[in-house]
Symmetry: D2
Subunit: 392 residues, 4 copies
């Protein structure tokens, strides 16, 4: 396999931004990526200081992403970054991503992808024209046992899916900490920076993608009840949805950031005509399978009996737990393989990373959810009709 | 305390009816109740055979409930049954209960109480007139750790409740076993016997009562999506509800009988402004409490630090697990205490058993859920305005 | 099947004795036993008062066990008790049991059986001569999932057993509560009443029996380290043993009553050449099986895939948890079946209840453990050579 | 803080050696260490090929560790490696470590440290003379919740420790896979390469260190029963120990590699006069604390209520699980801080990494265990009298 080390630039992820460090560690953890350039903050001074903190070479420690774009393009191709990782608050995803895509760079972008479906469509068109790899860090689908779950659904071990319960509960926004100087809380509760979704955008979108990834189901309609519990908060902090899928399956999707004591409690349960599965992010190394009429089975990461995708995305032997950072790294590795292979705009399914289409579908989901909630919480069409490879 | 042994008669619960044996064992397990009379099946031959199976004295082993009613009334008061336990399929709850109430007997009746709110109102009026004790076996509220949860809510340890998730998942009806001769499946999927609710009636009603009991919240509105997954089945086997409570709390209530591998998976989670709780019926001996900013706490049955109600409803020391049958017995014991105390129609709250009002509220809940689902799954007013002590 | 209701008398189990109530509830819970006579305490006044508390008929509420023995023998056989349940502190097991056996009564006796192997041998001889049923309430082997574990070992699903870890941890004696008036603590820490073993006698003996029941292994030698942690206590409160079995398997057996926060934490793990099992008393409704090279399996009580013994000892459907009291009742039911069948002295294995030989083996185990610990914790022969049906 | 990036060389860890990759990823994951030189295998060809696999610069990709030592010494100090990581099979730890120490390099070495206490003493003397940092990768003590446990013991939250149960169960050597070409199994079951301990050396030594790290207790005596279950195997695959500590505490330490279905099941339980703790490596993100008379508490990684050491060794917010690789990295980070600070031979306690004394104590433990088992499994003095800072 072509495994040459890729050069990564980063936009965002400076001081105080925990997720930037996660992206850097994940991208580099297997030695397949070098972090060589960055514009790590929105203010040049802070950007440069942040770059020095993390050891960037002064020549490639940029004050702004535009400067980075321009100066990297000016480098010979064998020195230039291979891709840019965009880890800014959501509001700058679109301009940064579009500019880098148009310049021919591959992109890894945090989620939710952009603010509106219009932006998403524009971005898809840009990606299609540029034929670049574009990955979205729906990191939870990088877990090996999630891949095992997907495999078992594909193999028909659950039969036809009837019911899906996905939930994502957190409690860190139970109080109005956005007024205490907490940076994350500030931008995540600010519609100008986060977009129209609060909890539904930040974590509900992960839940939507996890269902799509594991089950392959497509949402038909949703009925959403979105609430802001903390007085004065400007975005929702709680979202409850009834969901119908195009195959007739029914489901619930709920996400909240006011569930005190819930830390990062993403869970998926799905049942078909032959069995059910259950997976939980906080204990990610096993998957429960319940076949009809037989004892429950616990599948554990690292065992020979797992599917190839689960094995390929595992580093350590069984019993030596892997966790969040490895799952994140798996998304980077898959995107990296696609970049090396020149996979183009539609490389997601083949190389097993969430791509720009997944990102766009997430934006659509957030929009339809908010629309349903604003329309007296009525059932709302939420089909996403765009197809990979078609024109956006 | 007056603890004289009460004499119990039973209607229903003959051969093949597992729940009848549960009621008898639960009622009698602490030696406070004697099972002395019964009309255990709807056909006289089977009733008599069933009574002989369980050792009823021939003189009080009746062929029909009407016969039992008449002949027990003819006995001197100190021999006559003190109360009747009604464990028939739902369709006969109303006539049997009404007749025994009107004759002045105390009643313990299985849930859901009756088929319609009209019947429920009639029954309440009868109970009020007769001044009898009327208990409904919402057995899950008999668990000591459920009582501890209720206590903690009452004490304000959770703060103001914001979010409630209650779920009740089973898998035993994932296939069309009502056609295989399984008696339970037959009547539970038959609208003539079960009423208008399938899963929502059989188990959703338990979920509704559990929330009401623990949190004290009152439902304001619901938005329900009810489905029948098994082809040809005549009642729903899956129900998903968004719920709004009158205090502003939001919630989800879901119940299903097609979740393969789920056995009797009733769970309650509730979060307030100060903390959250979690309880699960299949592991009933502990309760999780998550206070804000402090380590999660596991409260275990049998410990000195629990509330008085939890202690009063416990038989064994900690670590010696109690389970389903003891919780059921707790409902019988509380109803029995009310009967001994002559508590009358409104004795539920004082003696801590679900009473006829709880039963009526459950019927209302089922009706409003089905109404919502039939009205294009729109939000539907589901307030229950009846109050204990007021005229029905 | 012959299921006539048996008449039970009880010795011990009066006021303040929680275990007496457990025995009565368990014996009677399925309606196959009537509690009709008792001498519930060692002082006549307290005995009579206790009997009145629990509703014994005055004529059969006796002041002493000798009076009960004499007066019951004087009753016609069809009124006389069928068996006596002995639930006194250990020191009186022997005289009471021997007297009732010699008078031809069947006996159910709490554990440990007696104080010395000499007493045990004498009792076995008496039982053999009288040809009576004699059960010992090693209640944990009454759990259905324990029976499933035993079945799987017998079927060879684990292969040849290599390693066994059994542990029984409690914390209730971490402080010197025997000086606070706690009755249980008083007699259990008093060698005159408990015998030579403290923790090793009270709970270590359960652990020994559980291993024997599930695995069928026979102890060859032990090396024991027994400690009294609480200053001034007169019996051990902590015991750690290395164990060798005659088939070459090795193991650990440990039991403690100073493990704060451990409630009644009896666990068994066993591994063979083909797989391993794990069971825990505090969550008794499932059994873990780990077959080599395949996913772990969770067997749950109440399912069709279980063995016949597990099914026969189950009352409720899956998901409706059963617990301590039902397991206890299973021992009584099995002993009752043996009594009805006239099974005689050697009925344990056939009717699946722990019998006098199991009780005697437990006494031997306690003696050898104490001997090892007193001999500088050296390895000590602990083979138990008595065989059912042979002369004691 | 001085955080300049350290240059790491590695000995061992070539193709087929999973643990080499773990060390490299862990050392480098936070960007504080560069992997710049290596002699990755014992045969020069394989060493060079392995170095190329992982992207080593040809000039510093050495055929042998002696060549690396010599040529690195010849480099200017600001290019030369700062430390060497030794991840070879155990038999070469001593010569490699001694040589690098004597040349003045800091060392990070895998465990068990060396084959004999004589070697350990010689190594300590060398480290003392050279005043170098020497870390031993007892990686499990790098987990933040282990540090929390240690903190709680130090703070007296458990009171005086009475009882310690530590266990480490694996199943991967249940069959004779050393004959199937499995490299790890080959050397780990080969006394020439592993030393005198099989399971007791490979994993028992981790258990010993975990107890010492968390509780601070010192072993007084042990009584060991060591077994080889797999026919023809040359080292033990199962070890069971009774342990006495110098403060009077008692314990069990057991380790096995034939427990089918156990993956990497390291658990620690300890109880004192005021409470108990429990931690399990396979679910490392929480710690259970059971204070006397109060509800059990679950401490979770990433929360404000934890001790400073737990916080310092955490990268991700609560609910975003960390695992094996991060714990490993924590050991490297602490050793790196000591190297930067010029901490010398005795830097372990101050900088919180296991040092050469811990390594030596582990060798002593293995020797005494084997001695006990060979002396008819008698109690054997196992005190370790060496003190940091004293002459070895």
């Amino acid at each position: 396999m072509n495994t040459h080390k890729l050069r990564m630039g980063m936009v965002g992820g400076g001081r105080d931004a925990f997720i930037g460090a996660v992206h850097r560690t994940a991208a580099c953890m297997d030695g397949r990526v070098s972090f060589v350039a960055g514009a790590l903050s929105s203010t040049p001074e802070k950007a440069l200081a942040s770059g020095r903190d993390v050891g960037l070479d002064d020549r490639r420690n940029y004050g702004t992403w535009r400067e980075m774009l321009e100066r990297e393009l000016a480098l010979p191709q064998d020195q230039r970054i291979d891709f840019v990782s965009i880890v800014t608050p959501n509001d700058t995803h679109f301009p940064v991503a579009e500019a880098f895509v148009q310049a021919g760079f591959a992109v890894v972008c945090d989620k939710p992808l952009v603010h509106t479906s219009q932006q998403a469509a524009a971005l898809i068109r840009a990606v299609q024209r540029a034929e670049t790899v574009f990955a979205v860090t729906y990191n939870y689908s990088g877990y090996p046992m999630v891949k095992q779950a997907r495999h078992m659904v594909e193999q028909g071990e659950l039969g036809d899916i009837r019911k899906v319960i996905v939930e994502y509960n957190q409690g860190w926004l139970a109080d109005k900490i956005e007024e205490t100087g907490q940076k994350q809380a500030q931008w995540r509760t600010d519609p100008a920076r986060s977009g129209i979704g609060g909890a539904i955008g930040d974590i509900g979108s992960h839940a939507e993608q996890l269902v799509a990834y594991v089950t392959g189901l497509e949402i038909d309609g949703i009925c959403a009840d979105i609430t802001t519990f903390v007085p004065g908060r400007r975005l929702d902090d709680d979202a409850n949805l009834l969901v119908r899928y195009t195959n007739g399956a029914r489901g619930l999707l709920f996400a909240s950031q006011i569930c005190i004591g819930s830390e990062n409690d993403l869970r998926l349960r799905a049942w078909g005509t032959k069995g059910g599965i259950e997976w939980r992010q906080e204990e990610p190394n096993h998957l429960v399978f319940r076949p009809e009429g037989r004892p429950e089975r616990i599948y554990r990461r690292g065992n020979d009996y797992l599917c190839q995708a689960a094995k390929n995305n595992t580093r350590l032997p069984f019993g030596h737990p892997e966790a969040f950072i490895e799952a994140f790294a798996n998304v980077y590795n898959a995107a990296g393989d696609a970049i090396r292979a020149g996979a183009g705009a539609d490389g997601g399914p083949k190389h097993d990373y969430p791509d720009v289409y997944d990102g766009a579908r997430g934006v659509h989901f957030i929009e339809r959810t908010v629309a349903s909630s604003e329309r007296d919480q009525k059932w709302t069409d939420a089909r996403w009709t765009m197809r990979r490879g078609s024109d956006a």
